[in-house]
Amino acid sequence: MNPRPRGTTGGGPFARLLEMLRPDLVRFAFWLARDRAVAEDVVQETLIRAWKSREELKDQAAARPWLFTIVRREHARLYERKRLPTVDVDDASALGDPALASDGDAGLDDLRRAIMQLPEEYREPLVMQVLGGLTTAEIAAELGLTQAAVLTRLFRARNRLRVIYGLPPGEDAE
């Protein structure tokens, strides 16, 4: 135990940074797991791991992509460790999870369900890019793909969502 002098706080800038980014980490974990309870567990583990490894983060500006990659790895680890059953997307949508419901914006609800139903290989890089702000190079490194492969997956993800949004799909060079 190493108590600090009276009047000091225990958290510090790093703890505040984690608190600030936590909401988006929960959202990201949810889009990966498609289950609220699992998302909360993943973020809990992520925050502990990040706290223990905080010395590794040299630049606070890089905290967001750094934490997102920890969330992704903790999510994978949780499934390896607990062998959780895969979420049935149709069931998840049918349950009308309140997390997916907007305030009267039916278009947004449809888009959320469409994102939920994207294959993982498209959904994951899309969420990493749009919500996490990761570059295609960072996504490629994390997923073990080439940048070109990541661009193609992102294009295909958006192509599927264009239809939900009432737009004609782009031509795929597949």
């Binding site: 108590p3 225990g10 706290w51």
Partner: protein, 217 residues
């Protein structure tokens, strides 16, 4: 649409907000691809809004189907286990933590930071290690469910926080609880668990995490 346009649209669809000079040059000369780009940027705004889930709704009670499943599993477990041991899961543990904290209400008023020696003596009695930079203002080795348990109060930016290091109580997942102005959370910590509580405010995740990261059984 030319093959060239197809190539550029994949680049636009892959990264609509970060165009290469090559794509930008193409957009300057191709109205159809310019429209495709504008549509994609607009779509991306909606995608971002869709991904930003309302967390307030996120934290509400589980949906009815899950509640039903939980209730069904509880009933089944009662039948299987004869009912008695059911009274000891996490909610019962949370209740006992609350009772204990209520009985040591004076602990919240402590404000003098304890010495490392004073804290070490309490931890040693319980056979627990706790390495944290959080200032500890109260430490007692309390009897709890047949074991000696470190009951600490630490100062945080949000006020005093009670910490109970429960080496002998295993919980399967995070569980929040509240009663009479106390708000707390039970957290799994290896083979044991940790209970953290605050008065009139939610336990900040960062503070709970800081506690968890310092516990060794």
């Amino acid at each position: 649409m030319s093959n060239e346009c197809t190539h550029f649209r994949i680049a636009i669809g892959g990264e609509p907000r970060m165009l290469s000079p090559e794509v930008s040059a193409h957009l300057a000369t191709c109205a159809a691809c310019r429209q495709f780009h504008a549509e994609t940027v607009s779509l991306d705004g909606r995608v971002r809004a869709a991904l930003e889930l309302p967390l307030a709704k996120f934290r509400k009670a589980p949906p009815p189907a899950r509640r039903f499943a939980l209730a069904a599993s509880v009933v089944l477990a009662m039948i299987l286990a004869g009912g008695f041991w059911l009274l000891r899961p996490q909610s019962a543990l949370a209740g006992e933590v609350l009772d204990h904290v209520r009985h040591e209400a004076g602990s919240w008023a402590a404000h003098d930071v304890l010495s490392a020696g004073e804290i070490a003596a309490v931890l040693q009695k319980a056979g627990v290690q706790f390495d944290s930079s959080m200032p500890v203002v109260y430490a007692s080795a309390c009897p709890f469910r047949g074991h000696s348990v470190p009951h600490l109060v630490v100062q945080t930016a949000s006020g005093p926080m009670t910490v109970m290091l429960l080496a002998h109580e295993s919980v399967t997942s995070r569980r929040e609880f509240s009663s009479d102005g106390y708000r707390g959370v039970l957290l799994p910590a290896g083979q044991g668990s940790v209970a953290v509580l605050m008065q009139h405010t939610e336990v900040p995740d960062a503070a709970a995490m800081q506690v968890l990261s310092g516990v060794r059984w």
